[in-house]
């Protein structure tokens, strides 16, 4: 067996050498090698899992490092400054320098903090974002855990991250951290609903909760689910950006209000872990969007030339760019506004979307008309429905603050309007309202 492993470089060459670019072939070849060498069945099983885990963990490790640089550079461009450019070529080593600095710093823990929870929280925050990637298909045959309930697994993992944030903030025993934690729980309770409802429409169309099946549905029908489900995409994108704690919904850390929120007491590498986990979670959500709405590893005919995992990563970063873009542009909501946005806008719209999808799916199955006929029709209907719903909701539900114009009035001279009689002003009023009117 060992001899066979040593001969691996030659044995790995499959029919065509370039098939190795599809990493599943590479791992498949390694597993074949083990089987051929007479390795026991459980060894294949363990090695296969290890290989997949290694791939995902190394991917996410690289992501955590490089995304700090990407995010800071992209936002820097948006803010008409350079971003990190001192350490290494183009500042590429800046995240490494940051990590070294964070590791050198003392990890402080408040005396009143709950030690166990305080320590576990950053780890518990990081793990779900990584675990979530296990069910993502990175290529046609390239998925670590081919779960039939992949979507449910995604929901479970994305909720866990919010729970970790909550215990971290609660365990710090700090008032600001407590605000952050409470906001996280409010947002978790609220935003899980539109997230689940929006992905439900996708599941109904694809007919499966298996993410590979969802990608295959898109490949078979030659479309991206974002075309069939634009409303669900918008809802999922906005809700998940709320769950990710990114501007415009970064209420849990809200630096300008509660000074960092749940991670206000964290320092050193524990803080670094939070920081990295935020990027990891952002990538995880981008991955879900890329897989579910943007076709995953499938990209028309291109996926026959370019390896699937490259296409997935390309799509992930396209989505991630939009996340950076919103972060660089928008201010933050207030907590009541954000919750109202979920309950009054996104949840009802998601329910309407599901009803529509249910009707369409039933029509498709009952009539048996061809997908080539029905799907373009559905794309048109759902697109129009999205536009109509959004416009209608804006008409009905728009906030009532717009009774004043956006711009101030202009006066050429002093004008002090006559005020109500002093009695209505209150006990601190001066003897008479100063009705000065000077002309200039």
């Amino acid at each position: 067996m060992i001899g066979a492993l040593l001969a691996a470089p030659t044995a790995l060459v499959t029919d065509n050498w370039w098939d190795i670019r599809d990493l599943s072939n590479l791992s498949g070849a390694i597993l074949d090698l083990i089987e051929d060498a007479g390795g026991p069945g459980w060894l294949t099983y363990v090695v296969g899992a290890l290989l997949g885990t290694l791939g995902i963990v190394s991917f996410i490790g690289g992501v955590a490092i490089i995304n700090i640089w990407i995010e800071r550079r992209v936002v820097g461009r948006m803010q008409s400054r350079l971003g990190p450019n001192r350490v290494g070529p183009f500042g590429l080593l800046q995240p490494v320098a940051d990590a070294i600095k964070l590791m050198q710093k003392e990890v402080l823990q408040p005396r009143v903090a709950d030690g166990l929870v305080f320590t576990v929280a950053p780890i518990a925050f990081t793990v779900p974002g990584i675990a979530l990637l296990a069910v993502i298909p990175w290529g046609r045959n390239m998925v670590l855990a081919d779960l039939d309930v992949g979507i449910v697994f995604l929901f479970a993992m994305s909720s866990l991250a919010a729970l970790a944030v909550f215990i971290g903030g609660y365990g710090s025993n700090n008032k600001y951290a407590l605000f952050g934690s409470m906001r996280v729980i409010a947002m978790l309770v609220t935003y899980e609903i539109p997230i689940v409802l929006s992905l439900l429409g996708v599941v109904m169309f694809a007919g499966s909760m298996n993410l590979n099946q969802i990608v295959l549905f898109q490949a078979d029908n030659w479309l991206f689910l974002i075309m069939l489900q634009p409303l669900a995409f918008l809802i999922y994108f906005l809700s998940s950006s709320a769950e990710l704690n990114r501007t415009p919904a970064d209420l849990a850390e809200a630096e300008s209000e509660i000074a960092g929120g749940y991670h206000v007491e964290y320092s050193g590498m524990k803080f670094g872990l939070y920081y990295a986990a935020e990027l990891i979670n952002a990538v995880a959500v981008s991955t879900i969007i890329a897989t579910v709405f943007l076709g995953g590893w499938w990209l028309y005919k291109i996926d026959e030339i370019v390896p699937g995992w490259m296409i997935v990563i390309g799509k992930i970063y396209a989505v991630y760019f939009v996340f950076i873009w919103t972060r660089g542009t928008l201010p933050r909501f207030r907590i009541d506004q954000l919750l109202a946005f979920a309950w009054k806008w996104m949840t009802p719209m998601a329910i309407i979307n599901i009803l529509l999808v249910a009707g369409e799916v039933v029509l498709w199955e009952e009539t048996g008309w061809s997908a080539g006929l029905l799907l373009p029709l559905y794309i048109a209907i759902n697109g129009a429905m999205t536009a109509v719903l959004i416009v209608a909701w804006v008409r009905v539900m728009a906030p009532k603050f717009q009774r004043y114009p956006d711009r101030p009035r202009m006066y050429d001279g002093i004008d002090v309007p006559s005020l109500p009689a002093p009695a209505s002003i209150g006990p601190t009023a001066p003897g008479a309202a100063p009705a000065r009117r000077a002309t200039v």
Binding site: M78, S80, P248, S256, R327, L330, R334, M410, Y411, I425
Partner: protein, 368 residues
């Protein structure tokens, strides 16, 4: 709707990203709703008013830089105006125009800072504040060109200004106010004016009623947001403000959003004033000779200018010696801050931060 919970006391500041310095706000909160606010000021107290009694009138000018360090020029101007009033110094025409130009440039710089910081308080992740800083830097470059300093300019002198402008100043100013800044203001407005989230965050937040504004003697954008067109430049003109045309932007509702757009509009009006001053700028001396140890006759004088924050007044009492007998400053930041409690009680913490940002305090000036 209202679920009562235990009242919690939260210290917002003195070390907080959004208190703009070392201002402390002790908020009693019920959930996230503010029940009561206590303001604690004085962390940056440097006893300038007392120190000034030991120094000559000219030596006191740098103190005014360090009061409102985001608007040093208008601080300088207010102080030298009061001493000139006390000593009866006539200021040459050219100096008057230069003072107006620099006061308005300073207004642009200060309002840029205020607007950017306000949007940051609303939760934007640094983009507007970076854009505003970029534009402010351009203005500070001009300050550096003329007096060597960017922030603490120390440019105005009793009887004029310290230096005449260099030859390259006017072309640079022309480029800035006719090309760069109008374009940048356009960009900034596209980003923030009428932005839905900013409207949601700032409209109807931190309302000042006209009655409250007058009773609390507010000034600057605070009183103008309440719908009262009150501007010292119009009401009690100094320098050459009675010779230039400009409008006062006035808000509707007295809320934070009004104050933000008023500041943006005021920056545009400042450009208008600077354009007129540039075309009218006369030749002549930039300064009259005043003895370094000026001894004004015994008496008192109060003069006020419209600083970017509001009415900045200087009250100087002379006993005939070379140092003021008493020097008192009317700091607009402090007086505008006095209504914070009325503005924030009943709002959430997030609103209180937005409200505080819209007041545009400068703790250097609050505490002096």
């Amino acid at each position: 709707m209202a679920i009562k919970s235990d009242l919690v006391e939260v210290n917002i500041g003195p070390q907080h990203p959004s208190t703009h310095g070392v201002f402390r706000m002790v908020a009693i909160i019920d959930g996230e709703r503010i029940v009561d606010v206590k303001m604690v000021v004085g962390y940056l107290h440097r006893s300038m008013e007392k120190l000034a009694e030991e120094r000559t009138y000219t030596q006191n000018i740098p103190f005014t830089d360090r009061m409102d360090y985001l608007a040093a020029m208008t601080g300088n101007l207010g102080y030298v105006l009061s001493v000139e009033k006390l000593a009866g110094v006539e200021v040459p025409e050219r100096a008057q125009y230069l003072r107006t130009i620099f006061a308005e440039l300073q207004r642009i710089a200060s309002h840029e800072m205020a607007t950017g910081a306000f949007i940051n308080d609303c939760g934007a992740w640094q983009t507007p504040v970076m854009w505003c800083f970029r534009d402010r830097e351009k203005v500070l470059d001009l300050f550096e060109m003329v007096c060597g300093a960017r922030i603490t300019t120390n440019y105005m002198r009793i009887g004029g200004v310290a230096f005449d402008i260099p030859d390259e100043f006017l072309p640079a100013l022309d480029r800035l106010i006719n090309d760069d800044l109008p374009r940048r203001f356009e960009e900034l407005e596209q980003l923030i004016v009428g932005n839905e989230i900013i409207l949601m965050r700032a409209r109807d937040v931190g309302i000042v009623t006209p009655e409250l504004a007058i009773n609390a003697s507010l000034s600057g954008p605070m009183i103008r947001s309440a719908g009262i067109a009150w501007d010292i430049r119009k009401a009690d003109p100094y320098c050459v403000y009675d010779r230039v045309n400009f409008d006062i932007p006035v808000g509707y509702n007295g809320d934070s959003y009004d104050r933000m757009v008023i500041r943006i509009e005021e920056m545009k009006q400042s450009l208008r004033i600077i354009r007129q001053c540039m075309s009218d700028l006369p030749a002549g001396p930039h300064k009259v000779d005043v003895p370094l140890a000026l001894r004004p006759p015994a008496g008192e004088a109060y003069s006020r200018v419209e600083s970017p924050k509001g009415e900045l007044g200087f009250y100087v009492v002379s006993d005939g010696s070379s140092a003021p007998y008493r020097w008192h400053v009317r700091p607009p930041s402090l007086i505008n801050l006095t209504v914070l409690r009325e503005m924030t009680v009943g709002q959430t913490i997030a609103d209180a931060i937005v409200t505080l940002g819209s007041i545009d305090i400068n703790v250097g000036e609050v505490d002096r």
